[in-house]
């Protein structure tokens, strides 16, 4: 078996194409900003970008003109304000952006259906609300046992999904701890999968604790080693969330000129994540995680 390790530049060039449906998942935890920045740098266009919480990275991709459409369930900057590029697009049409909106459970269900190879997923949800009015893809099905009418959403099957993990081997067998979000479902639902990791480890490290594996290498197309690739998001056990930057985004994104300046300086203006990090030498002192190791368990028989 050959190694799947490539650079972020190579992974995005090979696997993210204009017009694709792209998912960069991670619920607060493990959001791969490095992949989003590389997609912006490579000037991908007409993407349908989907995730539960667009977060700052999709706000940047919208501002950079990568996105034709956004599929989501909560578009805010938690505890800090708005995603203003998103808001300008929806409220003023600059740039034009189509939206398709669910609740969190709806998005989770869409990915669950996609991952299970089913065309839809069933929930008890949405009765009485305007969500199915705004989004006619929210439909219903009748239970063949009870006659109850339940809500459905259609499967989401992205062209490419980016999953950031704490560690993986060179074949893409990836382990995650801390918050798991909907990453496993997104990866299994996707036609292509890019795994980005804090640390590349030997296959024996993965095999020593197989219950920690979230994504098996057999569904992975590329492995990118990108330490601190989530900043300003975080990686449990590696570095904390940069809450200051999330607060700062309120000001940056509110002003289109400032936002473009941010992109020039921190995305277009750097070659890669290594350069992005080199320009912020204080990050490691400020955000490196403290040690709090758990004990191992016995897999013997």
């Amino acid at each position: 078996m050959h190694s799947k390790v490539v650079s972020m530049q190579e992974a995005v060039a090979a696997h993210v194409r204009d017009g694709d449906t792209v998912v960069i998942e991670g619920f607060t935890h493990l959001i791969c900003f490095a992949a989003g920045h590389e997609i912006i740098r490579q000037r991908r266009r007409d993407l349908t970008i989907a995730r539960l919480t667009p977060d700052l990275i999709y706000d940047q991709m919208i501002a950079a003109g990568c996105a034709r459409k956004l599929v989501f369930s909560w578009a805010g900057n938690p505890g800090a304000g708005s995603l203003h590029a998103f808001r300008r697009a929806v409220e003023k049409g600059t740039p034009k952006l189509e939206i398709e909106e669910y609740s969190h459970f709806g998005m989770v269900a869409r990915m669950s259906a996609g991952a299970a190879g089913l065309p839809f997923w069933t929930m008890r949800n949405y009765m009485g609300t305007d969500l199915p009015v705004a989004n006619p893809r929210i439909r219903t099905v009748t239970c063949p046992y009870t006659g109850e009418v339940l809500a459905t959403v259609p499967a989401l099957n992205p062209d490419v999904t980016v999953i950031h993990a704490q560690r993986a081997d060179q074949y893409g067998n990836a382990q995650v701890w801390g918050l798991l979000g909907v990453q496993k479902e997104a990866a299994f639902a996707s036609k292509r999968v890019i795994v980005v990791v804090e640390e590349l480890v030997d296959e024996s490290v993965i095999r020593a604790d197989p219950n920690r594996t979230l994504i098996p290498g057999m569904i992975v197309d590329a492995v990118v080693v990108e330490p601190w690739g989530c900043h300003p998001s975080y990686a449990q056990g590696y570095y904390d969330r940069d809450n200051d930057f999330y607060v700062a985004w309120e000001d940056i994104s509110r002003d289109p000129a400032k936002l473009q300046e941010y992109l020039e300086q921190w995305v277009y203006g750097v070659k890669d994540r290594a350069e992005y990090l080199a320009r912020q030498p204080d990050l490691k002192a400020r955000l490196t995680a403290k040690d709090q190791y758990c004990e191992g368990v016995n897999y013997g028989f």
């Binding site: 919480t53 009765m127 609300t129």
Partner: protein, 255 residues
Amino acid sequence: MASEYTPSEMMAAVAARELGNGEVVFVGIGLPNLACNLARALQAPDLVLIYESGAVGAVPERLPVSIGDPSLVTGSLMICSMADVFQLFLQNGKIEVGFLGGAQVDRYGNINTTVIGGYEKPKVRLPGSGGAAEIAVHAQRVLIISRLNPRAFPAELDFLTSPGQRCKGKTRQELGMPGAGPVKVITDKGILESDPESGEMVLTALYPGVTLEDVKANVGWPLQSRAELGAVAPPTGEELRLLREVLDPRKLFLG
């Protein structure tokens, strides 16, 4: 009016008092998080905090600024996928209390967190549902926390994101919703409770120093009120100490 506590502190204290020991609460960020941790420090040490991010039995050692803060993970009882949170915990009826807020709340406790103005070209695009729609359907009871003002409590919502006691003339039972829905609205001036007959949110208690007229002037529909309005004790010294010194010393959420 000079006061020894802020409206936010009062709201957090009132919300905390609603929580019984051992209850399972779906926690949101901001005041609900403060209320839950205040309750945990006082009458409800065994409150089980569940966050939609997948942290179960969280014991955050710092104030989480987001629902996916790493402090919710370290030392929690269980981390599970979001599919499990929404299916095994919420839809399966295991969540006893859910907190919701929103830009607009109507007389039935329906909530709008989606848009101000029309959906297609809104005046203000709000974040959307997140987990609110399904919390409103499934939590055994919902507590709404919101400051009173006429725009936030309109006669008609611009968009119905999360269902309350009546949706377009239908009861929750008719619509097949398992949870009891919003039973109380905790505001900065008093408490509204859902009337079992009409489903309307009715004023049942006023905070110290607030008049009935104060409240009515801030609600966009003809607010009903109980014949005898309850009194609500102001935050105790211990509640204030915990909120100010332990839970939110940097005043991130306590204005």
